[in-house]
Amino acid sequence: MTGRQSRSRAVAVTGIGIVTSLGAGREENWRQLAAGRSGIRRIARFDTAGLRTTIGGCVDGLGLESPSAAPFISLAMARAVAAEAIGQAGIGEPGRFPGGLFVAAPPLEHEWPQRMRLAERAPGDRSRRTYADLFTAAGQDSGDLHYDFCNGMIADRLADELGTEGSPITANTACASGATAIQLGVESIRRGATAALAVGTDGSLQVEALIRFSLLAALSTANAVPEQAAKPFAKNRDGFVMAEGAAALVLEDAESATARGAEIIGYVLGCGEAADNFHRTRSNPSGDSIVQSMERAIADAGLAPADIAYINAHGTGTPENDKMEALGVHRLFGQHAERLAISANKSMIGHTLTAAGAVEASFTLLALRDGLLPPTINHVLADPAIGLDVVPNQARRAAAEFALSNSFGFGGQNASLVFGATPGG
């Protein structure tokens, strides 16, 4: 099927499930995204009194009791997107998925409601609470506060319910996690697996996480009009908007997918990654790591930079990321940078953190499928230092054969994926 080495064989995507603040379902999300809608709202889930950032992309309506917590929200979304993706792919049987499971999920821990539940139950002097008090309460009838808060819980439950093969993996490379899950799945297929399920999910928009990002000055504070706060590549961009979301992709060996007559949405052609060890939160000013991530993905796809027509940017809307990503694009693509389009889904769905790489990979595949590039909305003030066609404000019809999706993680873990409407190469 391809002339490339076995180690870089194309992998078909035969099912996609998506949930974001734009809504539930692959096509519903794609419709809203293409129409330039935003899912960012004023946070109603908890009281934001006194907080610098009061907006986010919450996914509610999952039928969970309130207040919920990251484990339950993340699991509920993961179940929904996995079911949607597997349903489309028509692979295996219910409860028996013929491949491994690779999950990108946020770290789980007791949150303030759980902590206070233990604190309130502990005996002794109620005017003071310590961890010793929590231990006393924990030892008494708190069985439901164990397993659900273990880091492997989401992957574990999904593996049980979907009947995936082998040991499920929970990966976390911060904002690159979703891409890492896809990459792990692709690698397993290139090693001989028939199929893999890659899931990215993040339902961690609760008060402490919001405050922690806020304390790092990473979040937009443009609360007045929430839909307009996320401004990737714009001159007045002021940070990212925290959001929830999930996506699942059914990955299959391209030849087997074709042989069984599967409907193929698109192909994963290449994966690349590079660690930036310059600083814990800032990129190397040379842009080397970003360039390497993209370059390696393109090389793995058996392509050259000039073959890429569209980039689904990491595009968080922080002053730093967008500048560095643009720099990296110019360095790698040279003159070709003038001809390619680059847009940021995060302008509409916010930053879905651990899920982002998988959610945005899904949108990239749909862009190729339909020959339609989603816009970067809220692009009112262009930044001359970016110097790229960011598909401002309106989606655009453009047939593209190959696209690149970037995910650059906090802590310097950069990942890029190359997708194709065809197996290419």
């Binding site: 006194g50 409860g95 007791h110 880091n151 593996a159 040991s167 590079a274 660690a275 310097g412």
Partner: protein, 434 residues
């Protein structure tokens, strides 16, 4: 032989719930990539309650065998922990800025990674560091316990409410502490301190994270998807924010410390560990003149629904796939100490002693505590220590038949098990370097 064709592999839905495990042990894999490279361990590093470095682990195991246990039953009541010993932070992480950017969890990992890279002859070699793939297994870093206790106390009072919580968190959380808590920063810190710029991934998920970190590296090396890996994990037992979750599950030992193999369900004692290994293909090692510490010949991660006996059945399939010849068999066991599953593993291991197979196990959690994500990696390290010396360290459980002695000089293969407290059964086979 195609793993899926193995007659003893039963599909998931059968009673007993064993997986048909396509990840099953392999010396030979079929598939798109038919390469099967030999995998060597060329460096290792470990810090623990036994001390700092390889020699310290070996001496510490001897002390433990003599009854001198590195347990601290006073500092984190009502739990028993195995705290880190003789850890020289300045030696491992010279720059103060780096030290302050992380908590003890990440210190232990960064230290162990440094020891492994140094032994492998990779430290300081920019070309090699640039091509080293890092896979780390870890949980979240330390919370600020004082802030948590202050907030908890205030939230018990009359002014408790969202506004108070918001104000307390906003004013009292140190901004950069977040970076010490995000699990992926563990790998980032290893990369920053040691100059790695290759690929970097972090796995979460308790014991399975460590097993799968090693497994993915092993499978990728065998299949030609990478030539050089640094794999490791860490745990900090000296913290209060972590035990709550497991204590809620009735898993942590609070009574007197009994023999590892005889504890109740509430039988786990955490142990502080940092453990890293350098794994590479034989061809890559030989090209650069690196010597092997051991050959990693098999590594699998089984999984089943934990009905009684299911874990043993899962492990049994992994065991049969190894097809090991009879003879002395050292087993470094990651048994966690939680009674039912630890007893099931005990009986499974004892049952392997048939037809000339002499099984001698060591439950290392008795000496170093249980280190969750780092556990399997720590036990791989200790297994390699045995292979370096061709002997198995003295029994840690005095009157336990399973922990029999093996004659010095007879140990040329070691199994490592990793049965998670909740889920997952890992198995590795290490053989002496030629």
């Amino acid at each position: 032989m195609d793993a899926r064709a193995k007659p003893w592999a039963k599909p998931w839905h059968d009673e007993g719930g064993c997986f048909s495990d396509f990840d099953s042990v392999s010396r030979q894999r079929q598939g798109v990539l038919s390469v099967t490279n030999e995998v060597w361990i060329t460096g290792g590093g470990m810090v623990s309650a036994l001390g700092d470095g390889e020699e310290a682990q070996w001496q510490g195991l001897a002390r433990a065998a003599a009854g001198e246990l590195a347990i601290d039953s006073r500092s984190f009541p009502p739990f028993h922990i195995f705290p880190i010993r003789d850890f020289d932070l300045d030696r491992h992480i010279p720059r103060k800025g780096d030290q302050r950017a992380m908590g003890p969890l990440m210190h232990y990992g960064v230290a162990a990674a440094g020891l492994a890279l140094a032994e492998a002859g990779i430290a300081g070699d920019a070309a090699l560091l640039g091509r080293t793939h890092l896979i780390a297994a870890v949980g979240p870093g330390e919370r600020d316990e004082a802030v948590d206790e202050q907030i908890m106390t205030l939230m018990m009072g009359e002014s408790a409410g969202a506004a108070l919580l918001n104000e307390q968190l906003s004013n009292n959380l140190r901004p950069t502490l977040f970076l010490a808590q995000l699990p992926n920063l563990f790998a980032a810190n290893v990369a920053i301190v040691h100059g790695l710029v290759g690929a970097s991934r972090t796995f979460m998920g308790e014991e399975s994270a460590g097993i799968d970190a090693a497994r993915v590296a092993f499978e990728r090396l065998a299949a030609g998807q990478g030539e050089l890996f640094l794999v490791g994990g860490a745990l900090n037992a000296s913290r209060r924010d972590m035990p709550s979750i497991y204590h809620c599950g009735g898993l942590l030992l609070t009574g007197p410390v009994g023999a590892l193999w005889d504890r109740p369900k509430a039988g786990i004692c955490f142990g502080s560990v940092g453990a890293f290994l350098v794994m590479e293909t034989r061809a890559h090692a030989e090209r650069r003149g690196a010597r092997p510490l051991a050959r990693l010949t098999a590594l699998s991660a089984g999984r089943c629904r934990r009905l009684p006996g299911a874990a043993a059945a899962s492990a049994d399939r992994q065991w049969r796939a190894l097809q090991l010849a009879p003879g002395p068999l050292a087993v470094i066991s990651g048994a966690c100490g939680s009674g039912p599953i630890t007893r099931e593993e005990h009986d499974f291991l004892a049952g392997l002693a048939t037809d000339g197979m002499t099984v001698a196990a060591r439950g290392t959690a008795a000496a170093i505590g249980h280190s969750m994500e780092a556990s399997f990696l720590a036990n791989l390290f200790l297994a390699i220590s045995c292979l370096r010396r061709r002997c198995l360290f003295a029994p840690l459980a005095a009157s336990e038949a399973l922990e029999r002695r093996l004659d010095d000089g007879t140990v040329d293969r070691v199994l490592v098990t990793g049965w998670g407290h909740q889920r997952g059964e890992g198995l590795a086979c290490l053989e002496a370097a030629a």
